[in-house]
């Protein structure tokens, strides 16, 4: 399926990616060629085939409901772009 520029703008928004106007056309072309490759799947006969999520069909392990994580807040915040009083800072969201 070929995408148009509008599709790409919408996908970029959903993915929260800035794509410059000057790059939209080339991006559209390349994404369309990748989707062209993916389209070969359509012809595959998959009626009644169980989708595969894990090679050995393992299921999610459960563990005791106890605290295992230790506190690393100060350490983790040292590598954050902006923090204050133990909180991560972002531009104002609520007026």
């Amino acid at each position: 399926m070929a995408l148009d520029k509008e599709d790409v703008t919408k996908i970029a928004h959903l993915a929260r990616l800035q794509v410059a106007d000057s790059e939209i056309e080339a991006t559209t072309e390349r994404l369309s060629s990748i989707l062209g490759l993916i389209e070969q799947l359509e012809a595959a006969p998959t009626d009644g085939v169980e989708p595969m999520a894990h090679p050995t069909d393992a299921v999610q392990r459960l563990r005791e409901d106890v605290v295992t994580e230790t506190n690393h807040r100060d350490e983790y915040q040292q590598i954050a772009p902006a923090t204050e009083g133990g909180l991560y800072l972002v531009p104002k969201v609520i007026e």
Binding site: L3, D7, V8, I11, A12, H13, L14, A15, R16, L17, Q18, V19, A20, T27, R30, L31, S33, I34, L35, G36, L37, I38, E39, Q40, L41, E42, A44, T46, V49, E50, P51, M52, A53, H54, P55, T56, A58, Q60, R61, R63, H72, E75, Y76, Q78, I79, A80, P81, A82, Y88, V90, P91, K92, V93
Partner: protein, 484 residues
């Protein structure tokens, strides 16, 4: 000293012929002298390496040494290393100092292994040529006009140039085996779930697997002994016993049944590569193996299915890079949306953005069944092909890559042609099986790898089959002329 295998270095350390500090300094000097022409390292951890080496020497004196105490290796820059930059070759993580060690790194540290540094790679492991790195492409030591393969191209090139005796890699669609093939080294992708993914920056979680990149199968076995095992911190880690991977290396191959999938020898395979692979298979026949023609009829669907599953999982995994808690943040964001969009738009490279967008599209409302669910069903078909084949054969053999190292820039502008270079490796990840690439010869003076695929958790047999070949040949011992 630098041409010795890990096994030989381990013996030399045990015999007191060399100290870990001497060995580590030797490799650090080589990296300093020769890596500018290869670009295989992003970070060299000189100070830490020498401290680790000193501790290793002390451990040996105290009588507490393991087989690997004091041998130096390199880690792909996708593994978190505490206190050391862990960039995943992305501008997004250029400033990221990991606050903890990946389980793989932790286990290797516990075994007394010294870390020389962090190797270059395709950005977020997305690529087959190492050209998508924020830190520039890696050069193939056999011909520096050529790519080393990817995404673990830095690890492969470092081992090929003997700048490190061994390295770790990760393989989502061929990222250990394909660069191993193109650089003339041994690279093992274990069964999905065999080696912990914890602390390994996630690309496609249902496919990612870490493994060793070495000169020989014997060295890969030694490293697997240190790397493999159950990890409660990885929710898809498998809790089954880890064998001693060195135990069966010398087992004779009499009666070994080798499956040859006809789909691996059809159009698209370079003639020179095909010839090298046929010669390797002929040698196995001489060693007592029997050849069985098999079919893997859904092979052609593995690339299309992969380019749904991997980008879909990547788009979800990479949503954590948002400029808020760590990594790159754009200058002067206007509002929160601008912060997200510009941090990600400026922090990610082109290929990473393309895959995030493909994945976002495949998972978006109305398309999930047609893309992701369909791809997961096709994945089952691919797995069923292998299950059927392994009823009649012990291992499957063929080329690792359809071509030897191609020229830098040759495929960079055409993503689809780049994707097709993983045709023989991707189906193995889709099925979750183990596979190994070993050096089998040269085509136009560039290395060619033989791929051996095994059944689930049959790594010991792969290493045995690879080791026997390496007892009869010396392709794995050849070093590119500029690095002897």
């Amino acid at each position: 000293m630098h041409t010795k295998t890990l096994k030989a270095l381990s013996n030399a350390l045990a015999a007191g012929e060399v100290s870990s500090q001497e060995l580590t300094r030797h490799f650090l000097d080589r990296i300093k002298q020769l890596d500018p022409g290869v670009n295989s390292f992003i970070t060299v951890t000189e100070e830490q390496a020498l401290a680790q080496a000193k501790a290793a020497d002390e451990q040996r004196v105290a009588g507490n040494a393991t087989a690997l105490t004091g041998v130096p290796i390199a880690h792909k820059d996708i593994f978190c290393t505490r206190g050391v930059k862990t960039s995943c070759a992305s501008k997004m993580l250029d400033n990221f100092i990991a606050p903890y060690n990946a389980t793989v790194v932790e286990k290797m540290n516990d075994a007394g292994i010294v870390t020389l540094g962090k190797t270059n790679m395709d950005e977020f492991a997305m690529g087959s040529s190492n050209e998508t790195s924020f830190y520039g492409p890696v050069k193939n030591p056999w011909n520096t006009d050529c790519v080393p393969g990817g995404s673990s191209g830095g690890s492969a090139a470092a081992v090929a140039a003997r700048l490190a005796p061994a390295a770790t890699g990760t393989d989502t669609g061929g990222s250990i085996r394909q660069p191993a093939s193109l650089c003339g080294i041994t690279g093992l992708k274990p069964t999905y779930g065999r080696v912990s993914r914890w602390g390994m920056i996630a690309f496609a979680s249902s496919l990612d697997q870490a493994g060793p990149m070495t000169q020989t199968a014997e060295d890969a076995a030694l490293l697997m002994n240190a790397m493999a095992g159950f990890d409660p911190k990885d929710s898809t880690s498998t809790d089954i016993e880890v064998p001693d991977y060195t135990a069966d290396l010398n087992k004779p191959l009499d009666g070994l049944r080798i499956g040859l999938p006809k789909e691996f020898f059809e159009d698209g395979l370079d003639a020179g590569v095909g010839q090298v692979v046929q010669e390797a298979i002929a040698l196995y026949e001489k060693l007592g193996a029997t050849l069985v023609d098999i079919e893997l009829p859904n092979t052609h669907l593995s690339i299309p299915a992969y380019y749904v599953v991997a980008p879909a999982e990547a788009s979800s995994n990479l949503s954590r890079f948002d400029g808020v808690r760590f990594g790159y943040r754009c200058k002067d964001p206007l509002d929160l949306e601008d912060l997200y969009k510009r941090s990600r738009g400026e922090g990610f490279g082109e290929e990473v953005k393309r895959r995030i967008m493909i994945g976002t599209y495949a998972l978006s409302a109305g398309y999930y069944d047609a893309y992701y669910l369909k791809a997961q069903k096709v994945r089952r078909l691919i797995k069923n092909d292998f299950d059927e084949a392994f009823k009649n054969v012990d291992v499957i053999m063929g080329p690792t890559s359809p071509n030897a190292g191609f020229k830098l820039g040759e495929k960079a502008s055409d993503p689809v042609s780049m994707y097709l270079s993983d045709i023989y490796t991707i189906s193995v990840n889709m099925a979750g099986l183990p596979g190994i690439s070993i050096p089998a010869g040269l085509s136009n003076s560039l290395p060619v790898g033989l791929q051996i695929i095994g059944n689930y958790f049959d790594e010991a047999r792969l290493l045995n089959v690879a080791h026997r070949y390496q007892q009869e040949t010396d392709w794995h011992a050849q070093v590119p002329a500029a690095f002897v």
